[in-house]
Symmetry: C2
Subunit: 208 residues, 2 copies
Amino acid sequence: MREPVTAAAGPGRPRDAEVGRKALRAAVELYAELGWAKFTVDAVVRRAGIGKAAVYRRWPTREKLVADALEWALVLPAIAIDTGNVDDDLRELARALMAHYLGPYGLAGLRLHVEARAYPELFGELAATLRRTRALEARAIVRRAIARGELGEHASPTLILDTLLGGVLNHVLATPEELRPEMTARSARYIEDITAFVLTAAKAIGPP
Amino acid sequence: MREPVTAAAGPGRPRDAEVGRKALRAAVELYAELGWAKFTVDAVVRRAGIGKAAVYRRWPTREKLVADALEWALVLPAIAIDTGNVDDDLRELARALMAHYLGPYGLAGLRLHVEARAYPELFGELAATLRRTRALEARAIVRRAIARGELGEHASPTLILDTLLGGVLNHVLATPEELRPEMTARSARYIEDITAFVLTAAKAIGPP
């Protein structure tokens, strides 16, 4: 496999960016697995397999590193879903969330919400930003559906999003460890089913 | 306020039981707030305001104490809901879960699922037991509804329970800290609404 162009560009910015990405990726993984209490810059350096000096130069403290890493992995990848119809929008939203939970950073967001209560000065604002970002993009989907007349004006964004997004989360949490490969294999089918389930209630309760 | 009868009974079993309960309660609270990494028997003794010797005699290690405390708070209070109709059963299930999340042990279960991946040898079995217990009692509700003809035979316990239980969880997680009192005040209304929402889909998709 060829090296990505940025990494082959020699010293300077692109190479820095590659080292930075490796550090951020390792930091989110370690945070998701072990949490804040066991999080150290040294452990991130070891897991990422990169130079210690470069990491410490950029992130002198573990607080700065974890904050940047969580923002990079959780807040920045906001997805602007807008397919033009509510069925596809909600399906895509559920699919993206399932992919997130099944991916390497799946536990990081959940842990952030849990740890925001134990360490509010460190994680409180990040958790609040994440909540706000997610809520805004999801609510926009329902608002557009109401504007297009696909859902009635009294359709409840709260109920639609709680059942869809919470449903996906509960599905992942409630699946026993040994059934995880099976759940992953069937996840596309599950996304179809839960989206149809939620849309049935949304359209019946809040008809246009 | 009068002391409870058991605490006034002098030395012997009832008084032991009271000390034990105080220790368990403090242990779950500390685990929920700070997680396993910061969990110590000494901190539990301090928070519970009880004698150190009594606690160490019963729980010589922090592993034993946290395991007993989580089982006591999360696994044992299994609720056998069986009102005779599916609407009331599901409403009561959602209500009990909301009360749990808003109570002092609300974060403990979520943290357990997160930490079961970091410390599988310690929390894996407990998380699995909790999952199994919850799934069995919730699925029994849907099975009885199918047997009584309230739901069709192809009604999906998975979708019904994921959307109802996950919906309640998402509602709690997505609510910003500053809106928590308001959410708590409105939680009875929310339970009515989400139960009706989920039942609408369940009855429309899997009619008897």
